[in-house]
């Protein structure tokens, strides 16, 4: 019986050691490639803005600025991770917005930056949001990290 106890103890120590090694492994750095929608017209205005990805809002602790542009404009957004803890945040404008766009940035930690650019080619009022969500419980979007982008028709 002592042998069994020693074996179980050894297995327990190995499991804990393995988990400790797993926990201390550094996470791979996020990629910095921007998600870009292909430009279709050479005659476009470029609308540039900066969004700080806070907990849990864009440039704010909840919600974010309303972005207003015209169809044909190119939107260039500089995203700056600005969470207060280990949280990461992103900028998403996709079918869940809902919108016809498919724009998704990397998930950024505090201090990380990314510039995304896409062409506003379909008019409408949409919601951009942070897509970080747990398997259950409130997502960042449900905590308020979403805001409006309005793309107005020209003329």
């Amino acid at each position: 019986m002592v042998g069994v106890r020693v074996a179980v103890l050894a297995v327990a120590v190995i499991i804990v050691a393995a988990v400790a090694v797993l926990l201390l492994m550094p996470a791979p750095p996020p990629t910095t490639e921007a998600t870009t929608t292909q430009l279709t017209s050479p005659q476009t205005n470029i609308v540039s803005l900066t969004l700080y990805l806070n907990d849990y809002g864009f440039n704010a602790s909840k919600g974010g600025p309303k972005i207003t542009v015209f169809v044909g404009d190119t939107i260039r957004i500089r995203l700056i991770g600005n969470s207060s803890g280990p949280a990461v945040h992103d900028f998403v404008l996709d079918d869940k917005s809902p919108s016809p766009y498919n724009v998704k940035s990397d998930r950024l930690r505090r201090g990380q930056e990314q510039v995304i650019e896409f062409l506003a080619n379909v008019a409408g009022v949409y919601k951009y949001y942070c897509s970080v969500a747990p398997p259950a419980g409130p997502s960042h979007r449900e905590r308020g990290q979403e805001a409006v982008i309005e793309i107005m028709p020209r003329g």
């Binding site: 106890r5 120590v13 747990p134």
Partner: protein, 125 residues
Amino acid sequence: MRSPVTSAALTLSVIFSAVLLLTDAELWASAPHHGYGLAGLAIADMAILTVLQTGRIASPRKIVMVWGLAKFVVFLGDVLTAPEFGITYGEFASYLFSLWAYDGLLISQVLIIAGPYLDRLWAGK
């Protein structure tokens, strides 16, 4: 039921682990390997609980205590991974301790460590 206090503590540990795994968005978004590690420990908790109830180990006191102590150190030591997220130890500690399930997880480890002695008291030995 064999070892009721230890069994309850192991059950609590599994429950708090499950709550963290299901509700902590940052766990999966920022450090999924922490999530896998926690899931592995919860599964091991369930395995130990099963062994405890089947009575396959005559005197599991030391094993359970070492297990609880090791997990307590690992969970508390998670704070040391703060640089991985680009934040200070204090900021990460503040975040972790703000999660009630994490606090419960630490307390349940203390209960696991003390469980065998409490079980003996319970049994009047």
